[in-house]
């Protein structure tokens, strides 16, 4: 540091110290924690009570049953039913899975290519296995076939294996529902 910089720094330090000395120790921000507005200014989020836990309809007795029921519906649909199927799945799930199904329902409702092509998907759940070291997470293996009644795009394609990760949780009422759904391929 140059001499000139040192001098400026010293003055700033003294000035700061002087301020603190004349005003004494700063009082604790007594009202900050209790003021929602102050908290919002500090965190840019207006504090609100946590939302009530999500509920799901037709929950399953076991985690595996919840997954199998969800996945079976997820992979078996046609262009006419897919939007309603996804909307139904949304009501049977919570969290991210519900959001993803809601999004899929909205996206497929007006999907011209899906409707025009007569796209359909069908398949079976081949395996559901707990993911080691991750409570509530499961690896799901399906074998699926995608077809189209009005286009040859899928003609000749064999059924293919697919893997997805599913997370389940207990929901109010004691049943199990999917809380996270992530197809991997």
């Amino acid at each position: 540091m140059t001499v000139r910089r040192s001098a400026v720094a010293l003055l700033l330090t003294l000035g700061a110290a002087g301020c603190g000395g004349t005003r004494g120790p700063s009082p604790a921000p007594r009202s900050t924690r209790s003021s929602a507005i102050a908290q919002a200014q500090a965190t840019h989020e207006y504090p609100s009570p946590p939302p009530p836990p999500q509920t799901a309809t037709d929950t399953a007795l076991t985690a595996a049953q919840a997954i199998r029921a969800f996945v079976t519906a997820y992979i078996n649909w046609n262009a006419q039913t897919v939007s309603a199927d996804m909307r139904s799945l949304a009501t049977h799930s919570v969290g991210q899975a519900r959001a993803a199904m809601t999004l899929a329902a909205a996206g497929t409702a007006g999907d011209y290519e899906l409707q025009q092509g007569g796209i359909a998907n069908s398949g079976t759940v081949e395996a559901v296995a707990p993911l080691a070291g991750h409570a509530g997470e499961y690896v799901v293996v399906t074998q699926e076939s995608t077809t189209a009644s009005n286009t040859t795009a899928y003609q000749g394609l064999k059924p293919a294996w697919h893997v997805a990760l599913a997370t389940v949780q207990r929901v109010p009422g004691g049943g199990w529902a999917l809380s996270d759904w992530q197809p991997e391929n």
Binding site: Y74, I75, W77, V82, M86, A100, A104, G107, T108, L114, I119, N121, G123, T142, E144, S145, T146, T152, A153, Y154, Q155, G156, L157, K158, A160, H162, A164, W181, Q182, P183, E184, N185
Partner: protein, 377 residues
């Protein structure tokens, strides 16, 4: 691995090794004997499309679209040295809808179509109809076929099903190939994470600053955001049309890819993008201005560089590069970056993989072009 036209001995050893390792030796020999014997499948009488052959299960469809490429056939009674076990370990006799991607003797080097994963389906069109085939093998390849790059080898039964005449494994000719749409609910509903960028960028000490040999030019941009990362050494074409940069690539390569992602899908107009600083995003591009935008992104061209494609015939150093290769002539320029081709719309034929200027998954002929590469890349 299929028989090599140039290194048969090596590959034969590999085939024998694969058979032994797999413990299939006796069974495969028996299978070969039964299938290749006169009564075992009637190879000489066109068993590939016979009613009892597994090949009969290959569904024929109407002609597809896509890129014309050079293809060969392999296997069958006239080509016993190719064996019957693909490099993936699959028994090709039981899975006749198979093809091999050409270009090298290992999975990493046989990348004539960009290094497709095993079991990647392709719709292959020949003679007025098409069939889906799956990658289960690799092979060396060779010189162009009818001016088209030699990129795939068709298992003889697949070729026969398409109507290609059997020529003891020596047939070659152009076929049309395209990637069929992704299947499965997760893909159709656009919820699959496949192809999504890795969540974690490689730490700085895994990057290779030494490979970024070209000195950054004054005024060139710093490292660009916008290039998701994929593991390995090859760029990946994402469903969105953007490219994921390989984690193992030098920083300059990733910057080129990021710059490309900035302008993917921009309309092509002749002369588009010229007359503007390369730091600006133009409303349209042509081949040379888009390539120059990418090179500028890695600091390989000054911001005011503005040249036609022919000028790029003298860019950098001659020949292909390890990561980046430009192919330029007076009429056109395109570029490979970590295995993906940057090109203009349908430059290699209808539906060649991009809806505009952007990344293309399949290679194209480089006949008539001068190969150049950035020094150090």
């Amino acid at each position: 691995m299929r028989r090599s036209r140039t290194g048969g001995a090596v590959v034969l050893v590999g085939v024998i090794g694969a058979v032994v390792v797999a413990g299939f030796g006796g069974a495969v020999l028996a299978l070969i004997t039964s299938v290749f014997s006169p009564g075992g499948g009637g190879c000489g009488s066109g068993a590939a499309d016979g009613g009892t052959s597994p090949a009969a299960g290959i569904v024929l469809g109407p002609p597809g679209t896509g890129e014309f490429v050079g293809a060969t056939e392999y296997g069958g009674p006239g080509d016993p040295t190719s064996g019957v076990i693909g490099s993936s370990g699959a028994n090709l006799l039981a899975l006749p809808d198979s093809y091999a991607e050409l270009g090298g003797e290992t999975f990493e080097t046989a990348t004539a179509m960009g290094g497709l994963p095993y079991l990647t389906p392709l719709r292959i069109t020949w003679g007025g109809h098409s069939a889906i085939a799956y990658k289960r093998d690799i092979g060396f390849g060779g010189s162009p076929i009818d001016g088209l790059p030699r990129v795939l080898d068709l298992w003889w039964e697949l070729a026969g099903r398409l109507g290609i005449p059997y020529d003891d494994g020596l047939w070659s000719g152009p076929v049309q190939i395209e990637r069929p749409p992704e299947t499965g609910a997760g893909n159709v509903l656009d919820q699959s994470s496949e192809g999504a960028p890795a969540l974690v960028e490689p730490p700085a000490d895994e990057q290779d600053p030494g490979a970024c040999a070209p000195a950054a030019l004054e005024g060139a941009p710093a490292a660009l955001e916008g290039a998701p990362i994929t593991p390995g050494d090859r760029a990946q074409l994402l469903p969105s049309g953007l490219a994921a940069a390989p984690a193992g690539a030098p920083l300059a390569v990733r910057e080129i890819i990021a710059a490309g992602n900035q302008i993917v899908g921009k309309p092509y107009t002749y002369g588009g993008g010229h007359g503007l600083p390369l730091s600006e995003i133009a409303p349209t591009y042509d081949c040379s201005s888009s390539v120059e935008h990418l090179l500028y992104g890695a600091g390989l061209l000054p911001v005011d560089y503005d040249a036609a494609s022919g000028t790029l015939e003298s860019f950098g150093a001659p020949g292909p590069g390890q990561w980046v290769t430009l192919y330029a002539n007076a009429d056109h320029v395109f570029m490979y970056v970590a295995g993906l081709r940057w090109d203009t719309h349908n430059a290699a034929g209808p539906h060649d993989g991009s809806a505009g200027i952007g990344w293309h998954p399949l290679i194209r002929s480089d006949a008539g072009f001068v190969a150049r590469h950035p020094v150090g890349l």
